[in-house]
Symmetry: C2
Subunit: 106 residues, 2 copies
């Protein structure tokens, strides 16, 4: 079990996907530019087998913003987007009402 | 900053809202019964100012399943649903494809 305090240590926010590019020499990876309200960040996500770029552009996604950054194929991911997995199906998390990028999740 | 390992300690899953009831003597609280795939759990959520019961019933939501349980107004919440807040607007997190209750989020 995890304490509420530990959970609160995670910074989860709504982001809006601005652009989606393939990363060369990486079959599964996209480089995303994401509007987080006060700033714009770059995310790397292994979603190429599951989403087309046009399905992601403009979408509201959920981002963990305070994870240690990781660099994949030379691109640094400044956070991690959240997605649900059921076997070979992957679904992005999103919001069911139109809230602004940067909105905090709790 | 939070490590990926700490993040992985959280168990986040898709749930499906089965029923929504008011909790007596609590203006803001709903008692939800939620299908988590292998089991059904009870959640307490302060969503009465923001959602009608019929807006929530059947909806896929996102639940932290391994938080310490809390008891509010005599009802024990066996997890916490996630929602985004922008001022006075609150939006549930959900999935953008139809994945099964119990599907793990990462």
């Amino acid at each position: 079990m995890v304490s509420f305090k530990e959970f609160q240590g995670l910074d989860l926010r709504v982001g809006k996907v601005l652009s989606v590019e393939n990363i060369p020499n990486a079959d599964k990876l996209y480089k995303l530019s994401v509007d987080m309200g006060e700033k714009k960040i770059t995310l790397v996500a292994g979603l190429r087998p599951y989403y087309k770029p046009e399905e992601m552009k403009g979408k509201k996604i959920i981002v963990v913003t305070n994870l240690d950054h990781v660099t994949l194929k030379g691109v640094t991911s400044e956070g991690m987007l959240l997605a649900a997995q059921e076997g070979n199906k992957v679904s992005l998390l999103t919001v069911d009402k139109d809230v602004k990028p940067g909105s905090k999740i709790s």
